[in-house]
Amino acid sequence: MSRDDRDASTDGAHRGGEQARAAAEAVARRSYGKLVAFLAARTRDVAAAEDALSEAFAAALADWPLSGCPANPEGWLLTVARRKVIDMYRGQRRDEHAGDELRVLGFGLEEGSAGGEVPAIPDQRLALVFACAHPAIEANIRAPLILQVVMGLDAKRIASAFLMSPAAMGKRLVRAKEKIRQAGIPFRVPEREELGERLDTVLGAIYGAFAEGWTDLAGTDGARRDLAEEAIFLCRVVTELLPGEPEALGLLALMLHAEARRRARRDSHGEYVPLAEQDFALWDTAMIAEAEAFLRRASGMGSIGRYQLEAALQSAHVHRRRAGVANWEEVVQLYDALMAVVAGSPVVAVNRALAIAELHGAGPGLAAMQEVAGDPRLTEYQPYWAARAELLARAGARGEARAAYEMAIGLERDAAVRRWLQQRQAALTDRTES
């Protein structure tokens, strides 16, 4: 073989490797959760399903460059992964029931006959999502668990987005999966009578993932931005599989509204721009239209809820900016309705107080905020201090406003927001001196 030939063949292998990787990544993005769900549904052993699947992906990367990408990559991966799971069980259990177990592990799919086609894999992702967001699973690990098991994100990225050490996050994820297996948490979509409550925890976990992604204002942190996108993607899956649930549509509308304004939240110098000053030419109009359509569809179902109300608030803010009409009365009404649904949420109370200030002035706004000021959860909640500072400044209580800004600055993570708050605080000082 001449040197040139060798180079050409290495080149070809390299290209094949690239193609195989791209194909495997595409399947992973599209089908990871579907494959885990299918593999784990009967054994409830999520960790084993994940291990088997990652081995199958490794096998694909070794095999596909040589023999070409299979016509049905999903089916190929499932066949290999299923064999791995069976091998694992054979290794562990040598008792007489092993045969039964293995028959169960046949997963009701006929072994693909030579040249025969692989039957379509049923989509059990929703059942998997419900297992991950089961009330028996610790509340604050549900969103990370869904992101890993259903979306295939790796633990390191998830840990960083949720501000946890990778080791601690890894351990908690392992423990949660162990719990699913040991406690016999079912892989099924709950029956109608308990669906509402259970769907709440699922939507809460999705929103939790989105909120973590949303805190990255600049969109410079890839892991965080992806998290917001993953959350929207997952919520789309939920709305497709449960089309009759208005709150799922409401959450999707809410997240799309927020996401649509992402670009407008920073100016060309990377400085923070609050909603009231955003250039709405930078908003993603197609995404807003989509959000509005989902919200309309949800409200047509005649059952109002937290996410629909929050989406309606977003919609009202967008409308106000675009049409230039003050609709604060409507906004306050929406907050009143929201307060009734999520009783005792200091976060909602703070936002409602801001809306009241727009409608009736800073004094009544501060009075409304005073009602929740004693809540210990607010001590470390930056938006509370920023809102308080804003209203105190408007009311002319400059000393108190400065102190409140000081707290808000000290609690803020994002350097750009911190600078913005510092400017507000400094403007206050200047006015006092002049």
Binding site: M164, S165, A168, T379, M407, G410, L411, R413, A415, Q422
Partner: protein
Amino acid sequence: MQYLLMLHAEEAGWERLTKEQQQQGAAAYMAYGEALKQAGVLRGSNRLRPSSAATTVRVANGKPQVVDGPYVESKEQIGGYYLIDVADLDAAISWASRCPGAGHGTVEVRPVWSM
């Protein structure tokens, strides 16, 4: 549980800032310290003089060796610390992420042995 938040940053970085940026930076640290105090978690904090002021001491074979400069020569040096008392690592990480130093450098979170 107590944690030491160690602020590693490029030492020359501060000098490169404009006067206004320095003021803003200092004010951000002040506000951060205030928030730690208000939350009742601050146990101690200090800003360190530059590592050019450091001296390292080591005793080998009974003989003290005194060397001018920091232990590790590196562009990034410890510029200060906060000692905080919080419930767990998650809370410590949450405070570390709010530290202005996490934006322009790195904050190392180290649990303290309780005596």
